[in-house]
């Protein structure tokens, strides 16, 4: 699937005109990863977001961190994300550090990396792109919260 076809099928860019999607596609760079690869790491600086073109990744957060115990923190899985989903979008909104670690869980997963600064400049030059993308990010965050609430209900509040 081409980058443009992928972006047209991602909710993040729903409502944009084809020429606007082409402008975003021109910013994208392909990244291929294998099972176990760490794509982004919790607390690292954030400079880009990713759209999943093919394959699957897992979002993990550290928990139960005890500062005087050596070794890496234990990571708990939050959710797996497949084709058409995106992650790292919080960097576009708040420019904060990464809030979670993302690991590849399927060989030959293909991602499209979108650099924050270039994307932000595009949104500044075309406010319609900025408005649509921010609305879609809000809708996606809402969907993720609904998903998390349903999992918590299914597992008796443990998700």
């Amino acid at each position: 699937m081409s980058v443009i076809s992928l972006l047209q099928r991602s909710e993040l860019f729903a409502g944009l005109q084809p020429e606007q999607i082409e402008q975003i596609a021109a910013l994208g760079q392909d990244v291929v990863c294998q099972t176990g690869d760490i794509i982004i790491k919790e607390n690292d600086p954030s400079d880009e977001m990713y759209v999943i073109r093919d394959g699957m990744v897992e979002v993990l957060v550290s928990h139960g961190v005890v500062t005087d115990v050596p070794g890496p923190p234990k990571l708990a899985p939050l959710v797996r994300l497949g084709q058409g989903q995106f992650f790292g979008e919080m960097a576009l909104v708040d420019r904060g550090a990464r809030s979670a670690t993302v690991r590849c869980v399927q060989n030959d997963t293909v991602l499209t990396l979108i650099p924050r600064q270039a994307f932000w400049s595009l949104c500044e030059s075309d406010h319609h792109i900025g408005y649509v993308v921010m609305r879609n990010i809000a809708a996606d965050l809402s969907f993720k919260l609904r998903h998390r609430n349903l999992r918590a209900r299914l597992s008796g509040g443990r998700a």
Partner: protein, 71 residues
């Protein structure tokens, strides 16, 4: 129509997923979530459709691997 699907797996709170599908999922479908295969047991509309997107929630159960024991 593109279906954005929220997956929850009974007994596996660590294995939720979200993915886009080109076709409407159905009860009995087997789905691969990375290295895990699950079977769909329920499909509901999570929120009303918007534009070309439908929003679904799917409950699944793990597929038991059949292992052959000795003769």
């Amino acid at each position: 129509m593109i279906y954005k699907v929220s997956y929850c797996i009974v007994g596996r709170p660590d294995l939720g997923a979200i993915a886009n599908l080109n076709t409407l999922p159905s009860v009995g479908d087997q789905v691969k979530l990375g290295d895990e295969t699950v079977e769909v047991t329920e499909v509901i509309e999570l929120i009303p459709p918007r534009g070309d997107f439908g929003y679904l929630h799917v409950t699944c159960q793990p597929v038991q691997e059949t292992t052959q024991t000795g003769p």
